[in-house]
């Protein structure tokens, strides 16, 4: 048995060029997903009514189940609907892209030496783009919900440092403790900025790593034994596709929910 094992490279492969632009196999996969969503969307939009048909019924069931899970994170249906444009797009796009990677032809149809189709999420450019949309989106939602200065105050907690000096009126000891606590809070705020970068890195690399690893696994297994043996791994990949889509979407939802919540100190001040 002399099967050629075609292991995908970390970078997506260019399958053709439009002028100076490289069109990669992951982009072909993304476009395929776009076309599917477009067709599905046109069908749903055209046939939508209060008395649903089969397609609308299935879509509503799927969406309503998903909204139920999202509600558990946000605690409010209105918030869920507000975040849905980004979170929903992330979930459904990741899910469909991952499952499209399991279609026959992915990894086997080649253009030149390169695969024509490759799961879109095995491209770090896409996962990074989605991670940036997720994190930047959460900050934009926060600006719109709690105000620019209140949200920025979570990261640059200089206000507490100034306030702490007033505590000296109550005594030198209390003043020093207050200043010390304010400086620590200021430091924690700066660390939060680092954590925002870490969010982007972790989101993008987690999804990329999982899907890329799955793609390599299936490529190797399929090259070694063509029939039956890859099937359990493909079933596993279906599950991985759902899990990764859920993890990415849920984390985005958590970031957005946390970002749009009023800081603890401000909430207490508002009550007083």
């Amino acid at each position: 048995m002399s099967a050629e094992i075609h292991i995908p490279t970390l970078a997506p492969e260019a399958v053709f060029h439009i002028g100076n632009l490289n069109i990669t196999n992951t982009m072909v996969n993304a476009w395929l997903a776009i076309v599917i969503f477009l067709i599905l969307g046109i069908f749903i939009k055209r046939s939508i009514s209060l008395k649903p048909g089969k397609l609308q019924n299935a879509s509503e069931f799927f969406l309503d189940t998903l909204l139920g899970y999202f509600d558990q994170v946000t605690g409010d249906r209105k918030k869920t609907i507000r975040f849905l444009p980004i979170v929903g797009a992330i979930f459904f796009f990741i899910l469909l892209s991952n499952w499209l990677g399991l279609l026959p032809g992915t990894g086997s149809i080649t253009v030149g030496h390169n695969m024509l189709l490759r799961p879109a999420n095995t491209d770090l450019n896409l996962t990074l783009a989605m991670a940036l949309v997720s994190v930047i989106g959460s900050h934009l939602y926060a600006f719109a919900t709690i105000g620019v200065f209140t949200h920025l105050g979570k990261f640059v907690q200089i206000k507490n440092v100034f306030k702490s000096f007033k505590k000296f009126k109550n005594g030198i000891g209390e003043g020093f403790i207050a200043v010390f606590a304010a400086i620590i809070e200021f430091g924690v705020g700066l660390i939060e900025i680092v954590s925002e970068v870490a969010k982007v890195v972790s989101l993008s690399l987690r999804l990329f790593g999982n899907i890329f690893a799955g793609e390599i696994l299936i490529s190797v297994i399929s090259a070694l034994v063509a029939a039956f043996v890859p099937t359990p791994f493909m079933l596993l990949e279906i599950l991985v596709g759902v899990i990764q889509a859920t993890v990415f979407a849920m984390l985005t939802l958590v970031y957005m929910t946390v970002a749009t919540s009023v800081p603890h100190g401000d909430e207490e001040e508002a009550h007083h």
Binding site: L10, L21, S49
Partner: protein
């Protein structure tokens, strides 16, 4: 640059590339994928998620309204039922009163008519008695007259005209007195 040469260059130059480049990060591809994701988000939101969530919300509102309406109708129905039962009770009570009154009136009317009939009967009987009495008196008078005539005639025949007028008169008066007795 052909695809093969591009890939060969990529494979041989990995060691020289920076970390992001070795992971396949590329500004041009990143922008393309960002555009792809934006297009997906727009299609998903405007063609699928927004219409579906809107329809779900509309249906939920419709169901809530229907439930509220149903509750209101149920409450109204219960009130109407109670009102109907009350009215029915009232009507029954009133009907019973009317029937009772009719019974009493009928009884009273019966009694009155009985009394009236009795008095009328008494009047008729009295009138009959009086009439009989009158007729009796009249008959007696007629009998007396007839008897007197008969006696006179009989005596005339017996005495053959030997008696005078005085004797006749005495005999007649005696006869009448005996008749009265």
């Amino acid at each position: 640059m052909t695809e093969e040469t591009l890939n060969t260059h990529e494979e041989t130059g990995v060691a020289e590339q920076s970390l992001p480049a070795s992971l396949g990060l590329n500004a041009q591809l990143f922008v393309f994928q960002l555009i792809n994701f934006t297009v997906v988000a727009i299609i998903l939101w405007f063609l699928i998620l927004k219409p579906l969530t809107k329809t779900l919300a509309e249906r939920k509102k419709m169901i809530d309204d229907s439930i509220d309406n149903a509750k209101e109708i149920e409450t109204n129905l219960a009130l109407s039922e109670k009102e109907y039962q009350d009215k029915l009770k009232e009507a029954k009570a009133e009907a019973n009163k009317v029937i009772e009154k009719a019974h009493t009136e009928a009884k009273q009317l019966g009694e009155d008519m009985k009394v009236k009939a009795k008095s009328e009967v008494e009047v008729i009987v009295d009138q009959a008695k009086k009439s009989i009495q009158t007729e009796k008196v009249q008959m007696m008078e007629e009998i007396r007259q007839e008897s007197a005539t008969l006696i006179v005639t009989a005596l005339e025949k017996i005495l053959n005209e030997k008696m005078d007028g005085k004797i006749d008169k005495k005999i007649i008066e005696d006869s009448l007195a005996s008749l009265k007795k």
